[in-house]
Protein backbone atom coordinates (compact mmCIF):
# COMPACT_ATOMS: atom_id res chain seq x y z
CA UNK A 1 0.00 0.00 0.00
CA UNK A 2 2.72 2.41 1.00
CA UNK A 3 4.68 1.70 -2.15
CA UNK A 4 1.59 2.46 -4.20
CA UNK A 5 1.03 5.72 -2.39
CA UNK A 6 4.69 6.72 -2.86
CA UNK A 7 4.45 5.88 -6.54
CA UNK A 8 1.28 7.94 -6.75
CA UNK A 9 3.00 10.98 -5.25
CA UNK A 10 6.01 10.58 -7.52
CA UNK A 11 3.69 10.41 -10.51
CA UNK A 12 1.82 13.45 -9.25
CA UNK A 13 5.05 15.39 -8.80
CA UNK A 14 6.16 14.41 -12.27
CA UNK A 15 2.88 15.54 -13.84
CA UNK A 16 3.02 18.78 -11.89
CA UNK A 17 6.49 19.51 -13.21
CA UNK A 18 5.47 18.64 -16.75
CA UNK A 19 2.52 21.00 -16.45
CA UNK A 20 4.62 23.85 -15.06
CA UNK A 21 7.21 23.26 -17.78
CA UNK A 22 4.52 23.30 -20.43
CA UNK A 23 3.05 26.56 -19.16
CA UNK A 24 6.51 28.06 -19.09
CA UNK A 25 7.03 26.96 -22.70
CA UNK A 26 3.81 28.73 -23.72
CA UNK A 27 5.01 31.86 -21.98
CA UNK A 28 8.33 31.69 -23.82
CA UNK A 29 6.61 31.16 -27.15
CA UNK A 30 4.28 34.07 -26.54
CA UNK A 31 7.23 36.41 -26.08
CA UNK A 32 9.17 34.96 -29.01
CA UNK A 33 7.91 37.41 -31.66
CA UNK A 34 8.89 40.25 -29.35
CA UNK A 35 12.35 38.75 -28.80
CA UNK A 36 12.90 38.30 -32.53
CA UNK A 37 12.87 42.07 -32.85
CA UNK A 38 16.14 42.15 -30.96
CA UNK A 39 18.18 39.50 -32.79
CA UNK A 40 21.40 40.78 -31.25
CA UNK A 41 20.47 39.31 -27.89
CA UNK A 42 19.71 35.93 -29.49
CA UNK A 43 22.93 35.81 -31.52
CA UNK A 44 24.90 36.61 -28.42
CA UNK A 45 23.35 33.52 -26.82
CA UNK A 46 24.01 31.39 -29.92
CA UNK A 47 27.61 32.37 -29.37
CA UNK A 48 27.55 31.69 -25.62
CA UNK A 49 25.68 28.43 -25.89
CA UNK A 50 26.60 27.12 -29.30
CA UNK A 51 30.03 28.42 -30.20
CA UNK A 52 31.39 27.79 -26.74
CA UNK A 53 30.33 24.13 -26.98
CA UNK A 54 32.06 23.66 -30.35
CA UNK A 55 35.32 22.14 -29.18
CA UNK A 56 33.55 19.64 -26.95
CA UNK A 57 31.15 18.67 -29.71
CA UNK A 58 33.89 18.29 -32.31
CA UNK A 59 36.20 16.20 -30.13
CA UNK A 60 33.33 13.96 -29.05
CA UNK A 61 32.09 13.66 -32.62
CA UNK A 62 35.53 12.58 -33.79
CA UNK A 63 35.75 9.83 -31.19
CA UNK A 64 32.22 8.59 -31.76
CA UNK A 65 32.86 8.47 -35.51
CA UNK A 66 36.06 6.54 -35.00
CA UNK A 67 34.39 4.05 -32.68
CA UNK A 68 31.62 3.55 -35.21
CA UNK A 69 34.22 3.00 -37.90
CA UNK A 70 36.13 0.49 -35.82
CA UNK A 71 33.12 -1.48 -34.60
CA UNK A 72 31.52 -1.37 -38.00
CA UNK A 73 34.69 -2.52 -39.73
CA UNK A 74 35.20 -5.45 -37.35
CA UNK A 75 31.63 -6.62 -37.75
CA UNK A 76 31.31 -6.05 -41.49
CA UNK A 77 34.68 -7.68 -42.06
CA UNK A 78 33.20 -11.02 -40.90
CA UNK A 79 30.74 -10.85 -43.78
CA UNK A 80 33.20 -9.41 -46.24
CA UNK A 81 31.12 -6.33 -46.78
CA UNK A 82 33.35 -3.59 -45.48
CA UNK A 83 32.51 -1.56 -48.58
CA UNK A 84 29.28 -0.42 -46.93
CA UNK A 85 31.15 0.91 -43.88
CA UNK A 86 30.42 4.50 -44.95
CA UNK A 87 26.69 3.85 -44.94
CA UNK A 88 26.85 2.34 -41.50
CA UNK A 89 28.75 5.27 -40.04
CA UNK A 90 26.58 7.85 -41.78
CA UNK A 91 23.26 6.28 -40.84
CA UNK A 92 24.34 5.67 -37.27
CA UNK A 93 25.32 9.28 -36.88
CA UNK A 94 22.47 10.93 -38.75
CA UNK A 95 19.63 8.90 -37.32
CA UNK A 96 20.67 8.29 -33.73
CA UNK A 97 24.08 9.03 -32.32
CA UNK A 98 24.48 12.54 -33.66
CA UNK A 99 21.31 14.05 -32.18
CA UNK A 100 21.31 11.98 -28.98
CA UNK A 101 24.94 12.34 -27.97
CA UNK A 102 25.02 16.01 -28.93
CA UNK A 103 21.92 16.63 -26.83
CA UNK A 104 23.42 14.82 -23.85
CA UNK A 105 26.67 16.76 -24.14
CA UNK A 106 24.70 19.95 -24.64
CA UNK A 107 22.76 19.34 -21.42
CA UNK A 108 26.01 18.89 -19.55
CA UNK A 109 27.87 21.79 -21.11
CA UNK A 110 25.33 24.48 -22.03
CA UNK A 111 22.27 23.41 -20.02
CA UNK A 112 24.05 23.52 -16.69
CA UNK A 113 25.59 26.89 -17.58
CA UNK A 114 22.14 28.28 -18.39
CA UNK A 115 20.56 26.93 -15.21
CA UNK A 116 23.26 28.20 -12.89
CA UNK A 117 23.48 31.56 -14.64
CA UNK A 118 19.75 32.24 -14.37
CA UNK A 119 19.54 30.70 -10.90
CA UNK A 120 22.37 32.87 -9.62
CA UNK A 121 20.78 35.95 -11.16
CA UNK A 122 17.67 35.08 -9.18
CA UNK A 123 19.67 34.43 -5.99
CA UNK A 124 21.50 37.76 -6.23
CA UNK A 125 18.24 39.65 -6.88
CA UNK A 126 19.32 40.62 -10.38
CA UNK A 127 16.03 39.34 -11.77
CA UNK A 128 14.07 41.24 -9.12
CA UNK A 129 16.13 44.32 -9.90
CA UNK A 130 15.20 43.97 -13.53
CA UNK A 131 11.53 43.67 -12.67
CA UNK A 132 11.82 46.84 -10.61
CA UNK A 133 13.20 48.58 -13.68
CA UNK A 134 10.04 47.55 -15.49
CA UNK A 135 11.90 44.95 -17.56
CA UNK A 136 10.39 41.48 -17.64
CA UNK A 137 13.27 39.04 -16.98
CA UNK A 138 11.47 36.30 -18.89
CA UNK A 139 11.53 38.46 -22.00
CA UNK A 140 14.96 39.97 -21.51
CA UNK A 141 16.90 37.04 -20.06
CA UNK A 142 15.07 33.75 -20.55
CA UNK A 143 13.60 33.99 -24.05
CA UNK A 144 16.84 34.99 -25.84
CA UNK A 145 18.65 32.13 -24.09
CA UNK A 146 15.90 29.68 -24.99
CA UNK A 147 15.91 30.71 -28.66
CA UNK A 148 19.70 30.74 -28.75
CA UNK A 149 19.72 27.17 -27.48
CA UNK A 150 17.04 26.02 -29.92
CA UNK A 151 18.96 27.53 -32.83
CA UNK A 152 22.30 26.15 -31.63
CA UNK A 153 21.30 22.52 -31.24
CA UNK A 154 20.69 21.56 -34.90
CA UNK A 155 23.87 23.41 -35.85
CA UNK A 156 25.85 21.52 -33.24
CA UNK A 157 24.34 18.23 -34.40
CA UNK A 158 25.34 19.04 -37.98
CA UNK A 159 28.92 19.72 -36.90
CA UNK A 160 28.98 16.61 -34.72
CA UNK A 161 27.84 14.49 -37.68
CA UNK A 162 30.31 16.03 -40.10
CA UNK A 163 33.25 15.52 -37.75
CA UNK A 164 32.00 12.03 -36.86
CA UNK A 165 31.88 11.09 -40.51
CA UNK A 166 35.45 12.27 -40.91
CA UNK A 167 36.39 10.15 -37.88
CA UNK A 168 34.78 7.12 -39.48
CA UNK A 169 36.51 7.92 -42.75
CA UNK A 170 39.88 8.21 -41.06
CA UNK A 171 39.49 4.90 -39.31
CA UNK A 172 37.92 2.99 -42.14
CA UNK A 173 39.70 4.30 -45.20
CA UNK A 174 43.04 5.57 -43.99
CA UNK A 175 43.60 3.13 -41.17
CA UNK A 176 41.81 -0.04 -42.27
CA UNK A 177 42.16 0.51 -46.01
CA UNK A 178 38.52 0.28 -46.97
CA UNK A 179 38.10 1.45 -50.54
CA UNK A 180 37.68 5.21 -50.53
CA UNK A 181 35.39 5.33 -53.53
CA UNK A 182 32.95 2.78 -52.17
CA UNK A 183 33.00 4.47 -48.74
CA UNK A 184 31.61 7.68 -50.19
CA UNK A 185 29.52 6.25 -53.01
CA UNK A 186 27.70 3.89 -50.64
CA UNK A 187 26.84 6.86 -48.42
CA UNK A 188 25.66 8.71 -51.49
CA UNK A 189 23.54 5.83 -52.68
CA UNK A 190 21.95 4.68 -49.47
CA UNK A 191 21.43 7.71 -47.26
CA UNK A 192 17.99 9.10 -47.95
CA UNK A 193 17.52 12.83 -47.63
CA UNK A 194 13.98 12.69 -46.29
CA UNK A 195 14.18 9.52 -44.25
CA UNK A 196 17.60 9.96 -42.67
CA UNK A 197 18.76 13.53 -42.96
CA UNK A 198 15.54 15.44 -42.26
CA UNK A 199 14.46 13.09 -39.51
CA UNK A 200 17.78 13.67 -37.80
CA UNK A 201 17.27 17.40 -37.99
CA UNK A 202 13.75 17.07 -36.58
CA UNK A 203 15.15 15.06 -33.70
CA UNK A 204 17.86 17.59 -32.98
CA UNK A 205 15.33 20.40 -33.03
CA UNK A 206 13.03 18.61 -30.59
CA UNK A 207 15.95 17.77 -28.31
CA UNK A 208 17.07 21.38 -28.49
CA UNK A 209 13.66 22.61 -27.35
CA UNK A 210 13.45 20.02 -24.56
CA UNK A 211 16.97 20.41 -23.17
CA UNK A 212 16.97 24.20 -23.31
CA UNK A 213 13.47 24.44 -21.86
CA UNK A 214 14.46 22.25 -18.92
CA UNK A 215 17.63 24.28 -18.37
CA UNK A 216 15.96 27.71 -18.32
CA UNK A 217 12.95 26.39 -16.38
CA UNK A 218 15.13 24.92 -13.64
CA UNK A 219 17.20 28.09 -13.49
CA UNK A 220 14.26 30.45 -13.38
CA UNK A 221 12.46 28.52 -10.65
CA UNK A 222 15.57 27.56 -8.67
CA UNK A 223 15.51 28.13 -4.92
CA UNK A 224 17.49 31.35 -4.53
CA UNK A 225 20.23 29.78 -2.39
CA UNK A 226 23.58 28.15 -3.09
CA UNK A 227 22.10 24.74 -2.43
CA UNK A 228 19.01 25.49 -4.49
CA UNK A 229 21.04 26.48 -7.53
CA UNK A 230 23.26 23.43 -7.25
CA UNK A 231 20.22 21.16 -7.01
CA UNK A 232 18.62 22.84 -9.99
CA UNK A 233 21.80 22.33 -12.01
CA UNK A 234 21.84 18.64 -11.17
CA UNK A 235 18.17 18.32 -12.09
CA UNK A 236 18.89 19.97 -15.44
CA UNK A 237 21.39 17.27 -16.39
CA UNK A 238 19.31 14.37 -15.09
CA UNK A 239 15.97 15.54 -16.47
CA UNK A 240 17.42 16.57 -19.82
CA UNK A 241 19.13 13.22 -20.26
CA UNK A 242 15.98 11.28 -19.45
CA UNK A 243 13.84 13.57 -21.58
CA UNK A 244 16.19 13.28 -24.56
CA UNK A 245 16.32 9.48 -24.40
CA UNK A 246 12.56 9.14 -23.94
CA UNK A 247 11.85 11.59 -26.76
CA UNK A 248 14.35 9.75 -28.93
CA UNK A 249 12.43 6.53 -28.53
CA UNK A 250 9.15 8.29 -29.22
CA UNK A 251 10.40 10.05 -32.33
CA UNK A 252 12.13 6.93 -33.64
CA UNK A 253 8.93 4.94 -33.23
CA UNK A 254 6.95 7.65 -35.01
CA UNK A 255 9.31 8.40 -37.87
CA UNK A 256 10.93 5.13 -38.88
Amino acid sequence: MRVLREAYYILLGFLEMMGACGLFLFRLLRYTPHALRRPGLIFQQVFNIGAMSLVLIMVSGLFVGMVLGLQGFNTLNKFGSTNILGTLVALGLLRELGPVITALLYAGRAGTALTSEIGLMRATEQLAGMEMMAVDPVRRIVVPRFLGGVISMPLLVGIFNAVGLLGGYYLGVIHMHVDRGSFWSEIHARVDFQEDFVSGIIKSFVFGVAATLIAVFEGYYAQPTAEGVSRATTRTVVNSAVAVLALDFLLTALMF
Partner: protein
Protein backbone atom coordinates in the same frame (compact mmCIF):
# COMPACT_ATOMS: atom_id res chain seq x y z
CA UNK B 1 -11.41 57.74 -2.83
CA UNK B 2 -9.38 60.22 -0.84
CA UNK B 3 -8.47 63.36 -2.72
CA UNK B 4 -5.07 63.34 -1.06
CA UNK B 5 -3.83 60.63 -3.33
CA UNK B 6 -4.74 62.38 -6.58
CA UNK B 7 -2.13 63.03 -9.22
CA UNK B 8 -0.85 66.14 -7.52
CA UNK B 9 -2.16 65.51 -4.04
CA UNK B 10 -0.25 65.86 -0.85
CA UNK B 11 0.34 62.14 -0.44
CA UNK B 12 2.11 60.21 -3.16
CA UNK B 13 1.54 56.90 -1.38
CA UNK B 14 -1.45 56.03 0.71
CA UNK B 15 -1.93 52.72 2.50
CA UNK B 16 -5.10 51.91 4.40
CA UNK B 17 -5.93 48.86 6.47
CA UNK B 18 -3.14 46.74 5.04
CA UNK B 19 -3.27 43.11 6.04
CA UNK B 20 -0.69 40.56 5.03
CA UNK B 21 -0.08 37.08 6.29
CA UNK B 22 2.90 34.89 5.52
CA UNK B 23 2.20 31.33 6.49
CA UNK B 24 0.99 31.35 10.07
CA UNK B 25 2.53 34.70 10.86
CA UNK B 26 0.49 37.88 10.59
CA UNK B 27 2.96 40.43 9.21
CA UNK B 28 0.68 43.46 8.84
CA UNK B 29 -2.49 43.88 10.81
CA UNK B 30 -4.32 46.96 9.61
CA UNK B 31 -1.41 49.19 8.71
CA UNK B 32 -2.08 52.82 7.69
CA UNK B 33 0.70 54.84 6.10
CA UNK B 34 0.83 58.12 4.17
CA UNK B 35 3.93 59.27 2.36
CA UNK B 36 4.24 62.99 1.71
CA UNK B 37 5.18 64.05 -1.80
CA UNK B 38 8.68 65.48 -2.12
CA UNK B 39 9.83 64.43 1.34
CA UNK B 40 12.17 61.81 2.72
CA UNK B 41 10.12 59.37 4.76
CA UNK B 42 11.67 56.58 6.77
CA UNK B 43 10.02 53.35 7.80
CA UNK B 44 11.75 51.94 10.84
CA UNK B 45 11.25 48.93 13.00
CA UNK B 46 13.05 45.91 14.37
CA UNK B 47 14.30 43.23 11.98
CA UNK B 48 11.58 40.83 10.96
CA UNK B 49 8.71 43.31 11.20
CA UNK B 50 8.22 43.19 7.46
CA UNK B 51 9.72 46.53 6.47
CA UNK B 52 11.12 45.10 3.26
CA UNK B 53 7.84 43.31 2.64
CA UNK B 54 6.13 46.68 2.93
CA UNK B 55 8.37 48.04 0.17
CA UNK B 56 7.58 44.98 -1.93
CA UNK B 57 3.87 45.64 -1.45
CA UNK B 58 4.24 49.31 -2.38
CA UNK B 59 6.07 48.35 -5.56
CA UNK B 60 3.73 45.54 -6.48
CA UNK B 61 6.22 42.68 -6.04
CA UNK B 62 4.02 41.17 -3.34
CA UNK B 63 0.23 41.20 -3.19
CA UNK B 64 -1.37 42.11 0.13
CA UNK B 65 -4.23 40.02 1.52
CA UNK B 66 -6.38 43.03 2.23
CA UNK B 67 -6.26 46.80 2.21
CA UNK B 68 -5.76 49.76 -0.08
CA UNK B 69 -2.37 50.60 -1.59
CA UNK B 70 -2.40 53.75 -3.69
CA UNK B 71 0.79 54.93 -5.37
CA UNK B 72 0.50 58.16 -7.31
CA UNK B 73 -3.25 57.64 -7.46
CA UNK B 74 -3.07 54.08 -8.78
CA UNK B 75 -4.19 51.05 -6.82
CA UNK B 76 -1.08 48.85 -7.00
CA UNK B 77 -2.56 45.42 -6.13
CA UNK B 78 -5.17 45.61 -8.89
CA UNK B 79 -2.89 46.75 -11.72
CA UNK B 80 -2.28 44.43 -14.67
CA UNK B 81 1.37 43.52 -15.20
CA UNK B 82 1.67 45.98 -18.09
CA UNK B 83 0.21 48.80 -15.99
CA UNK B 84 2.48 47.82 -13.13
CA UNK B 85 5.52 48.03 -15.40
CA UNK B 86 4.36 51.47 -16.57
CA UNK B 87 4.13 52.59 -12.94
CA UNK B 88 7.53 51.11 -12.14
CA UNK B 89 9.14 53.31 -14.78
CA UNK B 90 8.40 56.10 -12.32
CA UNK B 91 9.97 54.23 -9.42
CA UNK B 92 13.57 53.68 -8.51
CA UNK B 93 14.46 50.86 -6.17
CA UNK B 94 17.75 50.45 -4.36
CA UNK B 95 18.22 46.86 -3.27
CA UNK B 96 20.16 46.11 -0.14
CA UNK B 97 22.93 44.37 -2.08
CA UNK B 98 22.65 46.69 -5.08
CA UNK B 99 21.47 43.90 -7.40
CA UNK B 100 23.89 45.08 -10.08
CA UNK B 101 24.21 42.94 -13.18
CA UNK B 102 27.48 41.18 -12.52
CA UNK B 103 28.26 40.57 -16.20
CA UNK B 104 27.90 44.23 -17.15
CA UNK B 105 30.29 47.08 -16.40
CA UNK B 106 29.23 49.99 -14.22
CA UNK B 107 28.43 52.05 -17.30
CA UNK B 108 26.35 49.29 -18.90
CA UNK B 109 24.47 48.83 -15.65
CA UNK B 110 23.49 52.48 -15.57
CA UNK B 111 22.42 52.64 -19.21
CA UNK B 112 20.43 49.40 -18.94
CA UNK B 113 17.01 50.97 -18.17
CA UNK B 114 17.59 53.66 -20.82
CA UNK B 115 18.43 51.12 -23.51
CA UNK B 116 15.49 48.93 -22.55
CA UNK B 117 12.84 51.65 -22.50
CA UNK B 118 13.95 54.30 -24.94
CA UNK B 119 15.23 54.64 -28.49
CA UNK B 120 17.47 57.55 -27.56
CA UNK B 121 20.63 57.92 -29.64
CA UNK B 122 23.72 56.41 -28.08
CA UNK B 123 25.38 59.80 -27.57
CA UNK B 124 22.47 61.07 -25.50
CA UNK B 125 22.32 57.86 -23.46
CA UNK B 126 26.00 58.30 -22.76
CA UNK B 127 25.45 61.87 -21.57
CA UNK B 128 22.65 60.86 -19.24
CA UNK B 129 24.64 57.95 -17.81
CA UNK B 130 27.73 60.05 -17.20
CA UNK B 131 25.63 62.73 -15.51
CA UNK B 132 24.00 60.18 -13.21
CA UNK B 133 27.38 58.69 -12.37
CA UNK B 134 28.71 62.19 -11.74
CA UNK B 135 25.84 62.77 -9.32
CA UNK B 136 26.95 59.81 -7.20
CA UNK B 137 30.63 60.70 -7.65
CA UNK B 138 31.59 57.64 -9.68
CA UNK B 139 32.03 58.93 -13.21
CA UNK B 140 35.62 57.74 -13.01
CA UNK B 141 34.50 54.19 -12.23
CA UNK B 142 32.38 53.82 -15.36
CA UNK B 143 34.52 51.08 -16.86
CA UNK B 144 34.90 48.95 -13.75
CA UNK B 145 33.04 45.68 -13.28
CA UNK B 146 30.76 45.24 -10.23
CA UNK B 147 33.17 42.70 -8.72
CA UNK B 148 35.83 45.43 -8.55
CA UNK B 149 33.65 47.77 -6.46
CA UNK B 150 33.53 48.12 -2.71
CA UNK B 151 30.16 47.68 -0.99
CA UNK B 152 29.61 51.42 -0.71
CA UNK B 153 30.54 52.04 -4.34
CA UNK B 154 28.27 49.24 -5.54
CA UNK B 155 25.39 50.86 -3.72
CA UNK B 156 26.15 54.22 -5.30
CA UNK B 157 26.26 52.65 -8.76
CA UNK B 158 22.93 51.00 -8.03
CA UNK B 159 21.66 54.40 -6.98
CA UNK B 160 22.84 55.95 -10.24
CA UNK B 161 21.02 53.18 -12.10
CA UNK B 162 17.89 53.71 -10.02
CA UNK B 163 17.74 57.39 -10.95
CA UNK B 164 18.77 56.86 -14.58
CA UNK B 165 15.18 56.94 -15.73
CA UNK B 166 14.30 60.00 -13.61
CA UNK B 167 11.80 58.36 -11.28
CA UNK B 168 9.27 60.20 -9.15
CA UNK B 169 9.70 57.94 -6.15
CA UNK B 170 12.79 56.17 -4.96
CA UNK B 171 12.78 53.30 -2.48
CA UNK B 172 15.82 52.47 -0.39
CA UNK B 173 15.93 49.03 1.18
CA UNK B 174 18.31 49.14 4.17
CA UNK B 175 20.67 51.61 2.47
CA UNK B 176 23.04 51.92 5.46
CA UNK B 177 23.55 48.26 6.31
CA UNK B 178 27.12 47.03 6.18
CA UNK B 179 28.80 50.29 5.16
CA UNK B 180 31.86 51.92 6.67
CA UNK B 181 31.29 55.33 8.31
CA UNK B 182 32.53 57.28 5.28
CA UNK B 183 30.38 55.42 2.78
CA UNK B 184 27.48 55.81 5.18
CA UNK B 185 28.00 59.57 5.23
CA UNK B 186 28.14 59.60 1.44
CA UNK B 187 24.86 57.70 1.14
CA UNK B 188 23.15 59.95 3.70
CA UNK B 189 24.24 63.01 1.76
CA UNK B 190 23.20 61.50 -1.58
CA UNK B 191 19.73 60.60 -0.35
CA UNK B 192 19.15 64.17 0.76
CA UNK B 193 20.71 65.81 -2.28
CA UNK B 194 18.97 63.63 -4.84
CA UNK B 195 15.65 64.10 -3.09
CA UNK B 196 15.90 67.89 -3.10
CA UNK B 197 17.66 68.40 -6.42
CA UNK B 198 15.65 65.98 -8.53
CA UNK B 199 12.34 66.66 -6.80
CA UNK B 200 11.92 63.05 -5.77
CA UNK B 201 9.99 61.43 -3.00
CA UNK B 202 12.27 59.13 -1.02
CA UNK B 203 11.24 56.21 1.12
CA UNK B 204 13.85 54.59 3.32
CA UNK B 205 13.44 51.30 5.09
CA UNK B 206 16.02 50.96 7.81
CA UNK B 207 16.76 50.24 11.43
CA UNK B 208 19.78 52.51 11.68
CA UNK B 209 18.21 55.12 13.94
CA UNK B 210 21.03 57.64 13.86
CA UNK B 211 21.49 57.82 10.08
CA UNK B 212 17.78 57.82 9.43
CA UNK B 213 17.25 60.64 11.91
CA UNK B 214 19.88 62.71 10.15
CA UNK B 215 18.27 62.41 6.74
CA UNK B 216 14.54 61.84 7.06
CA UNK B 217 11.78 64.45 7.28
CA UNK B 218 9.33 62.03 8.85
CA UNK B 219 9.59 58.53 10.22
CA UNK B 220 7.16 55.72 10.83
CA UNK B 221 7.96 53.20 13.51
CA UNK B 222 6.26 49.89 12.90
CA UNK B 223 6.12 46.82 15.07
CA UNK B 224 3.95 43.72 15.17
CA UNK B 225 2.07 44.73 12.06
CA UNK B 226 1.02 48.18 13.22
CA UNK B 227 2.29 51.73 13.20
CA UNK B 228 3.64 52.43 16.68
CA UNK B 229 4.72 56.00 16.21
CA UNK B 230 4.96 58.66 13.51
CA UNK B 231 6.68 62.01 13.46
CA UNK B 232 9.76 64.01 12.73
CA UNK B 233 13.03 62.64 14.14
CA UNK B 234 12.81 65.20 16.98
CA UNK B 235 9.28 64.18 17.87
CA UNK B 236 10.28 60.51 17.97
CA UNK B 237 13.30 61.35 20.09
CA UNK B 238 11.01 62.89 22.69
CA UNK B 239 8.34 60.21 22.47
CA UNK B 240 7.32 59.01 25.92
CA UNK B 241 6.26 55.49 24.97
CA UNK B 242 8.48 52.81 26.48
CA UNK B 243 8.63 50.83 23.25
CA UNK B 244 9.67 53.82 21.15
CA UNK B 245 12.32 54.72 23.69
CA UNK B 246 13.69 51.21 23.69
CA UNK B 247 13.98 51.21 19.92
CA UNK B 248 15.37 54.70 19.49
CA UNK B 249 17.97 54.22 22.23
CA UNK B 250 18.77 50.61 21.36
CA UNK B 251 18.17 49.05 24.77
CA UNK B 252 18.53 45.28 25.05
CA UNK B 253 15.53 44.71 27.30
CA UNK B 254 12.23 46.48 27.68
CA UNK B 255 8.79 46.05 26.16
CA UNK B 256 10.56 43.93 23.54
CA UNK B 257 11.97 41.20 25.79
CA UNK B 258 15.51 39.94 25.45
CA UNK B 259 14.24 36.35 25.24
CA UNK B 260 12.28 34.94 22.36
CA UNK B 261 9.04 33.44 23.75
CA UNK B 262 9.87 29.99 25.13
CA UNK B 263 8.58 27.57 27.74
CA UNK B 264 10.03 27.87 31.22
CA UNK B 265 13.74 27.03 31.18
CA UNK B 266 13.68 24.66 34.16
CA UNK B 267 10.70 22.72 32.83
CA UNK B 268 12.30 22.38 29.42
CA UNK B 269 15.66 21.17 30.73
CA UNK B 270 14.07 18.69 33.11
CA UNK B 271 11.63 17.61 30.46
CA UNK B 272 14.41 16.86 28.01
CA UNK B 273 16.27 14.78 30.57
CA UNK B 274 13.15 12.78 31.27
CA UNK B 275 12.94 11.68 27.60
Amino acid sequence: MASDSDKHGKHIIEIRGLKYRRGEKLIFDGLDIDILRGKVTAIMGPSGTGKTTLLSIMTGQVLPDKGKVLVDGKSVPTLSSDELFELRKEMGFLFQNGALFTDYSVYENVVFPLREHTDLPESLIRHIALMKLQAVGLRGAADLMPAELSGGMARRVALARAIAFDPKIIFYDEPFTGLDPISMGVIVRLIRELNDNLGLTSIIVSHDVEEVSSVSDHSYLISEGKVVAYGTPQELEQNKSAWVRQFMKGLADGPVPFHYPAPDLATQLLGERAK
